[in-house]
């Protein structure tokens, strides 16, 4: 049977490390990068006799996420034990959730390239503890175990199989990343493993109702890799099916160096996790008061902010989307607008243009920009009130970026104000015209293109500080003779 078209079906499980000070079931700290096993207490080590006590902050952050995706919050969430043996899993089971996860069904909208919005269902999000780390190098055939990460709170966000391409999977991953950063529930740091994605990928002939056999690609930690991994996997599965083979259900790993996925273990080798409700933890009662208290702490979400930028500030949708991509960028932009009290479009152009370019060039996050929102606003005010031109403003910005001071000081110290004194400008323009009699005569004879030549000469004389509108006006009069 020749199949002309294949449909790709993807569902994602994203593990988000929650930004709590202490672990989900113990009082040990969660900070990244400490010396091995210095942030593991008796509970994290799984010593005989220890018991878990749920961290209320982890619950609050999970509920916050649930409210942001318009999900049902489970009033009696249940923690379950997922049993398996591994050296970096101290208790021989992971405390997770199976039935009655804290966050039920919800959804997010992703924006596709053609500007189309697509709604992606979220099946559930549940709380669980992270495992420790096994270190296979430097131990001469032995394995080192670092339990600092053991017990770190994770929120596992499970999507419906609603994604239809690698690009959609990447857009979804970006969306969740944006959301958890907006909500302040995770630092989203992918290098440190605070945000990682498992993608369940399958293909089926277009129009077929039942899903194809899926492969799960584990632990993808970048937006670029998710796209590459899914594309590779889709091609692999299609090639397999078209050559008469079949896809086996298995877990695969993406190797970014070789750009391919590799089999890790098949379904037959998979563990029977023997989930059962953890008898050390009673069902978690979450009442309406708690939910409303959390709701009151929700920030303005990206979609709402984007709409506000369009409607209240008159930005284009593309610009509004760009500026709301991350909360720090949107916060910065709003701070510039508030301080500059000038055209929001001017502010938007500068934040997306000159500022973002400088940030990218020097690999600096907007939070640690050397030019503060207030400082940029001061500069933009000087453009708005015609003290300087946009072109001069870019020079001033570069000086500010290099730490030369505030805009007003730089303009004053270096005499960069526009020349707006009519008589001085008139005299200078008259002298300039006289200096080029040939061009003047040709212009007067009808070669109007030479107007630009005179503007250039005047600007050169004034080092660009002449008000361009004024220069035009005076030149027009003087050249006519």
């Amino acid at each position: 049977m020749a199949v002309t078209a294949w449909e790709v079906v993807i569902g994602c499980e994203i593990h988000v490390q929650l930004a709590t000070q202490s672990k989900i079931f113990s009082g040990a700290a969660t900070a990244f990068g400490a010396a091995p096993n210095t942030q593991a207490c008796a509970v994290d080590l799984g010593l005989p006799g220890v018991l878990p006590v749920l961290n209320g902050e982890a619950v609050r952050l999970a509920v916050k996420f649930g409210l942001a995706i318009d999900a049902h919050i489970e009033p009696h969430a249940v923690f379950a034990r997922k049993n398996y043996f591994y050296p970096d899993l101290p208790k021989g089971y992971q405390i997770s959730q199976l039935e009655r996860p804290i966050v039920g069904a919800g959804h997010v909208d992703i924006l596709l390239e053609e500007g189309v919005r697509k709604r992606i269902g979220i099946t559930r999000a549940h709380l669980e503890e992270d495992a420790g780390k096994s270190l296979h190098e430097d131990f001469h055939g032995m394995t080192g175990i670092d339990l600092n990460r053991a017990g770190t709170p994770l929120l596992e966000i499970v999507s419906e199989p609603d994604l239809r391409s690698a690009a959609e999977a990447a857009a979804y991953m970006r969306k969740i990343h944006q959301l958890v950063r907006y909500l302040g529930i995770s630092d989203g740091n992918m290098q440190e493993g605070s945000f990682r994605c498992d993608a369940n990928v399958s293909v089926r002939p277009l129009g077929q109702a039942e899903l194809g056999t899926r492969a799960e690609i584990k632990n993808i930690n970048s937006f670029r890799f998710v796209e590459q991994a899914v594309n590779y996997e889709v091609e692999r599965q299609i090639a397999l099916l078209e050559s008469g083979g079949r896809v086996v259900q298995e877990t695969r790993l993406y190797d970014p160096d070789r750009g391919e996925t590799r089999s890790m273990r098949s379904k037959e080798e998979a563990n029977d996790y023997r989930y059962f409700p953890d008898p050390d933890l009673l069902p978690l009662a979450i009442d309406a008061n708690f939910i409303e208290a959390v709701r009151a702490t929700l920030p303005e979400l990206p979609e709402a902010r984007c709409q506000r930028f369009i409607q209240e500030l008159g930005l284009l949708e593309y610009d509004a989307n760009t500026l709301t991509a991350s909360r720090p960028l949107a916060d910065y932009f709003e701070a510039v607008c508030a301080a500059a009290k000038c055209d929001a479009k001017l502010c938007a152009n500068w934040v997306m243009g000159t500022l973002s370019a400088a940030l990218n060039r020097d690999a600096i996050s907007v939070e640690s920009s050397p030019v503060s929102a207030e400082a940029l606003a001061e500069l933009l005010r000087r453009i708005a009130d015609h003290t300087i031109s946009g072109k001069i403003a870019k020079q001033v910005f570069d000086l500010m970026w290099q730490g030369e001071g505030r805009a007003d000081a730089i303009i004053a110290d270096r005499g960069l104000q526009q020349i707006t004194d009519n008589s001085a400008l008139e005299a200078m323009i008259a002298t300039t015209i006289d200096a080029y009699p040939q061009q003047r005569d040709e212009y007067r004879a009808g070669k109007e293109k030479l107007f630009g030549f005179f503007v250039g000469q005047v600007m050169k004389q004034t080092k660009g500080q002449a008000n361009p509108a004024l220069v035009n006006e005076i030149l027009t009069i003087k050249l006519k003779g």
Binding site: P48, V53, R81, N83, F85, P90, R274
Partner: protein
């Protein structure tokens, strides 16, 4: 005789200067060294630490602080599944033979704060799994009444030590009868409190939803005092009850007028030894004489308790014991070739047969395809058993019956027949499944062996159970008796 004194009498004598805590400690240590070689009721002794604690207690006894510390300076022992900082905590297993806990269990902390002097850690069935103390890695404990017989289990070491007056009191834990059954078989008083009354933090878990620590001592009044120091909310145990601790001794002297005692017909049927039945009836007569009335009742789902228990408890233990993997503490096999070898041999060598049996049962009932048929069904049975009790407590205040269907059996008699062994907990298990408090009280002797009367009360009725016990003990001296040979050394 000093060793026959109860906790209250020791407290008075310590304050009167009749003897010091150090002298009292030395007295009991001497008894242990004299008698325990035969009984094997201790796994670990800590004489030096005990004498230091006693010396500190003697200093405090001279101050005002002593007034609010009724247990100050009194020796006792902990079952060896309470974690004790700096001291081996084995849980009766080879697996933890080398485990020195870096922290104290909450109960250990509390009794230390009460000023009690810990003499050592008592023997027990491995990981509290057993009803005869024969599964201990450290060898069986013997019943002081007849040393060819078992003391019961799993808190057999604590029961035997108290029965022989090697300590005036001890702690125990009860998952399916592990305080009450050995208390009955050794002729002492043992109380399992309402689930959540005593913190489980630092207690090596057997079955988390059933485990509960409690006091073991000759008399109900002693148990009331010890429980007072053990109980209370603990933020480190999420199943701990946020509830004010009542004064457990407050109602000991209240007469029993109007107290209704329910006698479930299911507790007096097949399998009950006639000698045990006779003694239980004799004890009940004394309670009636003290003002209680007897009411016939039924707990129709009683027969389901043992099968439900032997699904729930193994399921939880199979998971609880996974941390014993040879990686971070405890027994590790020699020269493992790879990870699987490390796990298999460490656990294969570290665990005894009964523990392995329960891990296998538990793993089975939680497996895909069996979970609904076993684990979920057992949880539904558990609910039925709770409903039986709830219904019964609309008609009666407490429920009475034998603690164990038989008196102490001989070592080895049931060791090869787990099902018969499991049935020796038939009367005690339901209280654990329902989370209810239960007490076993000395009820005389059958062929020279102690018989226990069990009372099960409604939630938080420990005060009433202790009241009934104390009132019974005002009418009888069964709790004061001990085998002749242990009277020899004074």
């Amino acid at each position: 005789m000093i060793f026959q004194r109860n906790l209250g009498e020791h407290a008075a004598a310590l304050r009167a200067g009749e003897y010091s805590s150090v002298e009292l400690t030395q007295h009991y240590l001497e008894r242990i060294s004299r008698y325990d070689r035969r009984l094997n009721s201790f796994i670990t002794l800590c004489a030096d630490q005990a004498l230091a604690q006693a010396a500190a207690a003697d200093t405090l006894l001279a101050t005002d602080a002593a007034q609010t510390m009724p247990l100050l300076g009194i020796p006792f022992a902990h079952k060896d599944l309470f974690c004790t900082q700096g001291l081996r905590t084995s849980s009766g297993s080879k697996m933890l033979d080398t485990f020195i806990s870096p922290y104290d269990a909450t109960v250990v902390e509390k009794l230390a704060q009460a000023g009690m002097v810990m003499l050592g850690k008592t023997n027990m069935d491995e990981f509290a799994m057993g009803s005869s103390n024969e599964t201990s890695f450290y060898g069986p404990v013997r019943n002081p009444w007849q040393t060819e017989r078992v003391p019961g289990g799993s808190s057999g070491g604590s029961a035997a030590a108290v029965a022989a007056r090697l300590v005036p009191a001890a702690t125990g834990t009860d998952t399916g009868g592990s305080i009450r059954q050995p208390a009955a078989l050794c002729g002492i008083t043992g109380l399992k409190p309402t689930y959540g009354s005593v913190s489980r933090y630092g207690m090596i878990a057997f079955a988390s939803s059933l485990d509960q620590a409690g006091p073991m001592a000759p008399a109900a009044a002693d148990c009331a005092q010890l429980l007072q120091a053990m109980a209370g909310f603990d933020a480190r145990d999420s199943t701990s009850l946020q509830r004010e601790v009542p004064d457990y001794s407050a109602t000991l002297h209240t007469p029993l007028n109007g107290v209704r005692i329910g006698l479930p017909k299911e507790y007096f049927g097949e399998g009950l030894e006639s000698g045990v039945a006779l003694q239980v009836e004799a004890a009940l007569k004394l309670l009636v004489a003290a003002g209680a009335t007897l009411v016939d009742i039924s707990l129709p789902n009683t027969a389901l308790a043992v099968p439900a228990y032997y699904v729930v408890a193994p399921a939880e233990c199979s998971s609880n014991l996974s941390r014993m993997d040879g990686v971070r503490f405890g027994h590790r096999c020699k020269n493992p070739v790879d990870l699987e070898d490390l796990y298999k041999r460490s656990r294969g060598e570290g665990f005894g047969a009964e523990v392995k049996r329960r891990i296998m049962i538990g793993t089975y009932v939680l497996s895909a395809g069996y979970y609904d048929a076993y684990y979920l069904k057992a949880q539904r049975v558990r609910q039925l058993i709770c409903d039986d009790f709830r219904h019964a407590f609309t008609m009666v205040d407490v429920i009475a019956g034998p603690t164990s269907p038989t008196t102490a059996f001989k070592l080895g008699d049931k060791a090869d027949d787990p099902v018969t062994m499991y049935l020796s907990d038939i009367y005690t298990i339901a209280a654990n499944l329902a989370g209810l408090p239960g007490i076993s009280l000395p009820a005389g002797f059958s062929d020279g062996l102690p018989v226990g009367l069990q009372l099960v009360g409604n939630y938080f009725s420990e005060g009433q159970l202790l009241q009934l016990g104390h009132q019974l003990q005002q009418q009888s001296d069964w709790h004061l008796q001990l085998p002749e040979e242990y009277l020899a050394w004074q």
